[in-house]
Subunit: 149 residues, 2 copies
DNA sequence: ATGACTCATTACTTTTGCTAACGATGTCTC
DNA sequence: GAGACATCGTTAGCAAAAGTAATGAGTCAT
């Protein structure tokens, strides 16, 4: 029953919450450590990826999407813009807002960096059974839902 | 308010890796924000919980277990010790090492704090279907395995 | 007994997020 | 239309958490 891995009692919602929280924290740290120097931070990558997927978005929408406060998003966008990966435009209808758009170079980086950035995790995933990966695929959706709620 | 759910293409290992990485990052941020002031940090809680489960451990083993560098673990242990939740002992066989042990008060806090600490996540989990929770239960184990490998 | 290695710690830096306050723009009411 | 109010993004200042490099104490093989 008890492996070397920490396996809290997941029988109750609270127990599952404890175990999940720790697992998520550890994996987040691990992923951060795995990040190559030349690459983007977790937050930057997440935003760039969102832009690649969803097209233009306002900073506010991005902040909402990423569950960070607007000032944090300002910083992330500024970093991306400084590297030429993202471009700002005035919102056509509302002068207060802006639209952030991924640049050509940003798109290339997303594509090229994808493999490098997720290399470690991808390798790990490749070692899993098809069944385990299916569990993670479904869990990812659930986790996203949790974060949004 | 919430736009389209961020659902990267999870068909490939790399796509799943990207989606999982972002989901984990977001949830980690969300959990961090949800933490009450009077309580332990994520790292502290995780360490205390590990000690409650595994008994005495050396700082190095804890750092390894938590995927943190030794100095970070030193800080976490110091914080826990300052609050009387943890006690240090000399290693019987090796003077370089120490053994960290949870105190009575630490154990009490683990038990009492558990519910408060995971309150938000527990609430969210309670809203999920039994099937979703089962997915997360299995995913938690897989995530732990990933972090360790 | 000494030189290399290991473990934990200290000192310093980096990363990353937060809150509060501000300026610019839009909206609403009279 | 003009002034009050709200909204959006930014700036400024701060705090938490983790990383790297260097230090000190202890162990072990030769």
């Amino acid at each position: 029953m008890n492996r070397s891995t920490p396996t809290p009692p997941t029988g109750t919602d609270a127990g599952l919450a404890a175990a999940l929280r720790m697992a998520v924290g550890r994996l987040a740290r691990r992923l951060r450590a795995q990040r190559p120097d030349s690459s983007l931070s977790l937050g930057q990558g997440s935003v760039l990826f969102a832009l690649a997927r969803h097209g233009k978005m306002t900073p506010g929408a991005l902040a909402d999407h990423e569950k960070v406060q607007p000032p944090s998003m300002t910083r992330i966008i500024a970093a991306l813009e400084a590297r030429g990966l993202v471009r700002r435009m005035r919102h056509p209808d509302d002068g207060r807002q802006q639209l952030v758009e991924i640049t050509e170079e940003g798109s290339r980086l997303v594509a090229a960096d994808q493999q490098r950035r997720e290399a470690w995790l991808t390798r790990r995933l490749a070692e899993l059974s098809q069944e385990d990966k299916e569990v993670l695929r479904r869990a990812t959706e659930i986790l996203d839902r949790l974060s949004q709620s």
